[in-house]
Symmetry: D2
Subunit: 413 residues, 4 copies
Amino acid sequence: MHSKKRAKIINDPIYGFIEVDKGIINDLINHKYFQRLRRISQLGLSYLVYPGAQHTRFQHAIGSLHLMNKALNQLENKGHKISKQEKEGVKIAILLHDIGHCPFSHALERTIVRDISHEQLTLIYMHKLNEEFNGKLSLAIKIFENKYERKFLNQLVSSQLDMDRLDYLKRDSFFTGVTEGNIGVDRIISMLDIKDDKLVIEEKGIYSIEKFIIARRLMYWQVYLHKTVLSAENMLIQILNRAKYIHENSKKIYLSPDLKRFFENSFSFDEFIKDDSILENFSRLDDYEIYACLKYWIKNEDFVLSNLSQKILDRDILKIKIQKTKFNKKIISKYRLNMMKKENINLNESKYFIFSDKVSNSLYSIHESNIKILFKDGNIKDLSYSSDQFNLKVLAKTINKYFLCYPSEYLVE
Amino acid sequence: MHSKKRAKIINDPIYGFIEVDKGIINDLINHKYFQRLRRISQLGLSYLVYPGAQHTRFQHAIGSLHLMNKALNQLENKGHKISKQEKEGVKIAILLHDIGHCPFSHALERTIVRDISHEQLTLIYMHKLNEEFNGKLSLAIKIFENKYERKFLNQLVSSQLDMDRLDYLKRDSFFTGVTEGNIGVDRIISMLDIKDDKLVIEEKGIYSIEKFIIARRLMYWQVYLHKTVLSAENMLIQILNRAKYIHENSKKIYLSPDLKRFFENSFSFDEFIKDDSILENFSRLDDYEIYACLKYWIKNEDFVLSNLSQKILDRDILKIKIQKTKFNKKIISKYRLNMMKKENINLNESKYFIFSDKVSNSLYSIHESNIKILFKDGNIKDLSYSSDQFNLKVLAKTINKYFLCYPSEYLVE
Amino acid sequence: MHSKKRAKIINDPIYGFIEVDKGIINDLINHKYFQRLRRISQLGLSYLVYPGAQHTRFQHAIGSLHLMNKALNQLENKGHKISKQEKEGVKIAILLHDIGHCPFSHALERTIVRDISHEQLTLIYMHKLNEEFNGKLSLAIKIFENKYERKFLNQLVSSQLDMDRLDYLKRDSFFTGVTEGNIGVDRIISMLDIKDDKLVIEEKGIYSIEKFIIARRLMYWQVYLHKTVLSAENMLIQILNRAKYIHENSKKIYLSPDLKRFFENSFSFDEFIKDDSILENFSRLDDYEIYACLKYWIKNEDFVLSNLSQKILDRDILKIKIQKTKFNKKIISKYRLNMMKKENINLNESKYFIFSDKVSNSLYSIHESNIKILFKDGNIKDLSYSSDQFNLKVLAKTINKYFLCYPSEYLVE
Amino acid sequence: MHSKKRAKIINDPIYGFIEVDKGIINDLINHKYFQRLRRISQLGLSYLVYPGAQHTRFQHAIGSLHLMNKALNQLENKGHKISKQEKEGVKIAILLHDIGHCPFSHALERTIVRDISHEQLTLIYMHKLNEEFNGKLSLAIKIFENKYERKFLNQLVSSQLDMDRLDYLKRDSFFTGVTEGNIGVDRIISMLDIKDDKLVIEEKGIYSIEKFIIARRLMYWQVYLHKTVLSAENMLIQILNRAKYIHENSKKIYLSPDLKRFFENSFSFDEFIKDDSILENFSRLDDYEIYACLKYWIKNEDFVLSNLSQKILDRDILKIKIQKTKFNKKIISKYRLNMMKKENINLNESKYFIFSDKVSNSLYSIHESNIKILFKDGNIKDLSYSSDQFNLKVLAKTINKYFLCYPSEYLVE
């Protein structure tokens, strides 16, 4: 008689077969909170530009788990002892690291749930699940919050070279078809080592890391901050802001019950923890929910709401300009005036169509200096000191860009 | 000064860069009817089993267009004259061939729109677009309906080896990660030729075609008719049938306005053509719409509706058994009785949970005999006569299987 | 301080990083006998048709070792106990399974070393290495010779679904670019199980196995028995036969010292074992050696030798016809007569240019019936009884084909 | 009746099917001079480190031709007129651009043929073939020598972004398995444009170019200048130098007739052109020739020659140290003295085993500044001025490194 250690195999277009452990890991995947991630797209509205980018947070979480398994194997192979409990803890932590995401991932963060970040929402989920699973997630939470003494475990979940990042760069590159963003995940993982309980990279892995940094930078500008995606996601934010405004002022708007609750309340972390029904409501929010509202809103009597909603549905994205300096306020005013006249709307309404803001790649926090290189002589140095020909400081600098969105028909020169 | 022939490039994870022609082709892609396909998943609920299978009808249509371009190049390269108009026509035909699909593609066909197939809906769309584009789609429609004299053009759109099939097999294999279903699209296209205005395959392509047939068969059983997917899709059909039943009897159910119209009417082809608003309603139906309803329905007072809706959302799929013979009616009755007692429901209600039906791969119509092989001596023979060692007739046979779905907790032995 | 379990990582274009165990496995790879495999092409002269097919027996052996590691993991994961010694033994057996190959792999088998097959040569190498490594290969030899009681270990090395076959099909498909021959190695390995110490396939793996059989068949006809390759490899055999004939009759021919020894002697298994110098000579024979001789032979005064040698070097391959029935002897005679007259050569000489023979895919022995399927109820059946729609007996039938080679300029109609 | 424009299809593991034009292109590929490239490995001895890197100059030339076809299509698509003659010319130029390579590509350049670079040898071949093909290569030669007025044609063959480079980076990355060196060939080609008869890159291609530069740099240090490869290739040079020395002093050495001629003569460009037999001799030199000599040399009485030859055959590579500064002469002397004593050899002999030299990536000449970016406003700027965050000057700097090779057993501390 034999008993299998794995509960099931999941087919992944990128890694092939992913084996899932029996027990808590499999149970968490089957939990409805985790299943919700099947309905949250990984890259928000990016699929309007890259049609292949329909992949979800679900796939990403499973993929990160897979890389965690590989990393743990590597580290054990190099002679490091990691206990069964620690392995389970860090696997749970990576599996659930994104469970708190709002619909369309980053796009609607802080729009629906104003005062709580997705990391905090993740923590709320973890605590609820810890209750349900009788404390089996305690170590995972400690690792996730970086309160566990062996710091490399947290670094595997959340650092410059964590399994989250390795998976999303590879996955986003794969599904967008931006093959240039592809990174050498296997090689990077094989270069991982531990020194003084911290994650380090073997000396001979320097080129791979440089390549990884460049690939990431390429992905920012080519995918994550692609101008059309930027415009579409800002349109969606404007739509939700307008919907909330209408709801607060006239109530003349359709809202799904779950969305309504969040429009009418701004819950705190503690309220989430105390009142189970809040998380139940939140757990029904997903990309599908938002789209269903959009379809009601195209028939709303409010010009702003109906017009922008229809535009998103038909992929009629606002034009967008990007430059390194702020846009001239006078020019923006001229655009708005022009539209106000033509559409007979007021200034406030025009601001939903014509708006400017700043975007920076620091959203994705580049602090390369954190990557530590382990030299053959046993010394450890920051990557920025190790790579003599490669100006990492320049690369790591936060870049700010300014954008201006506007409907093409109201452009004035 | 130069003027480009292509309007844009679309990134595809499978083929890389796809070039889209300026003019009508690009205009059709930008049309809101076509953009709707971004919200219709190619493989219905298959992503519940294959998480990567989130690809849409939009991607598939663009991919098929790409293969059509390749096929036309090949045929011209082999010395066949194809006019500019014919090329445009056949490209439009392949681009739009799936535009009439219902939410979740095949799953809900005939459930929402009872009396019209998705092919007819496609034709309705084509006629509407033909009006809007002043007759530019006339030849495309002729080709699509196989009323054009050069039959190979229709065969490129709809036959055993059409560009639709080549793309979907490759694409579904890619996104599910079932790499064994991968087919040699380039090789098959390079083997295409025309003889007496009909599509034929060069003799040396026989092995590739055999491989294609086997890959397709593997995809049927491993993906298209995967038992968990079969169960999930039948659950969804049951849910919609129950929703309609409730709506017809008590009205105590939430329905989106667009879905409501189709629940209350069964439109004919002619009605669709005459009353533009019907197609407008239909065009707002997509996967998102159905999911939004499911989330209302989980709170409906009807046990059947709320229970099944919650199950789909949480991926708690009914168990399913498959066998070659019909299931014994007595056993089914026993299952149902058991559930009726435990849940205090009536027989009719139990049938939504415990049901049996037949499934056959003939849904996907295998008539291999249609593939014609062109021998070096100029003769043409059916593939089934050309492949001496390969029992195609056996493969082509329609296979019927019977399935029984039931909630695992009501299983009696 | 940590000590690594792996000696090194080898980059493989197919599998990515392959980890090599420290100790005997790594030592064998570094041994000069094994390093020779870097100079033996996996597919003989196939690269004359598929330019990418330059891969070597070295890569194949490393790849097979990698799959063996995966298979052992799977089987252990399913609860089967395999001792450390058994694992090492079966890894050594697969690593060395092809070490006895002659230059150009199968092409020159039995031409250079007449009376000993490459499997016996492999055994000779194993025995020598066992001496050198103080008996560490004893279990590997037992497994290789199928004298070990746990039969599944031998089956992993040599059976219908051994790691050798899985790797070469995948590898040959990859490097030739015949993507249709690609097989789902990961899936097949994940379906392996053991029952009564024999290798079986889980029931749900049937489609993958069918696909594997079809892919293999496609590879035979499209690659392994490709007509141009067939002709080229037969030309090479003719060249070596002619060279030997000249050496035996006139000695007026250049021969490398190592080749000379084998032309002048036909050693037995026992002689190989007794006299170490024979294996030393053999170990210097590789593809490079043969090519170097060819370049001498193009300047040889013998018409047959110089002409055929030049043809191979310039990729001027003899024309070849293939048919299902024997070629008419009279026609062959006519061809030869024609050439004899034009080139002023005798009948015997013409036979080196114009010759006919039989080829069959049974060279690669298809006995599908050996694959055992493990059903969920615990029963085991032959694949041929398990696959109801797939006529395996037809596929498994040995196919004989006849070929006729001739220089195009001497073709008579 | 139809006549095909293409002569044949070549399977390529990277690009799939490559179509070869009828006529001169196909004839050149079939020519024995071009067929020789099948026996010249693209990456010299790199396969000793990367077993997959067995690909040849033949494959690379065909691949470059394929990319040229794509680039020409793109440029024509963007409205540029390129005549049929120009297209043929530039295709011939790229097809033959490497035809003059010595065995093991760069490794033995200037060792066998001292006074002529491989580019000049290529030109010699082109002139010979031009004669044979009655002047059909005249335009190709003009383009190759950059004497044709439309400069972008030469740039497609030889510049920072030529088809040669695009193919070799992609191909070397593919076959070594160093996936991080993979570049977005399709995207780069789609960004090509022409301005004032010069090749430029569209503005939005900047990130792809940056990525390309980084990938190239990674390939230099990880593959082209990999320390073990560096050591192996220098060993081979030492072996050939020693062989020549022995031949000049005692003649007690085996040499193949073709190699002998080049050891005894140092031909000029003009001599090659005048005396056809020289190119005939050269054309028989390939990797196989060198290996065959090595196998004789392992039995030579000269200690240096036999020892180093055996080491290469058995992949027993000299140890190598790399540092940024010159190695201390005293230390090198100490190493040598140590070896002289132990092996009873003289100083001169020891220098074949223990030697130091400089290596720089400038061998591969990085002058990024040459890449011109075409901005949307019509302006053209150097890439180094266009990429504000990316310190190209740092990247473009020539890096010198020093290496020291020595047999591990004679290391003194």
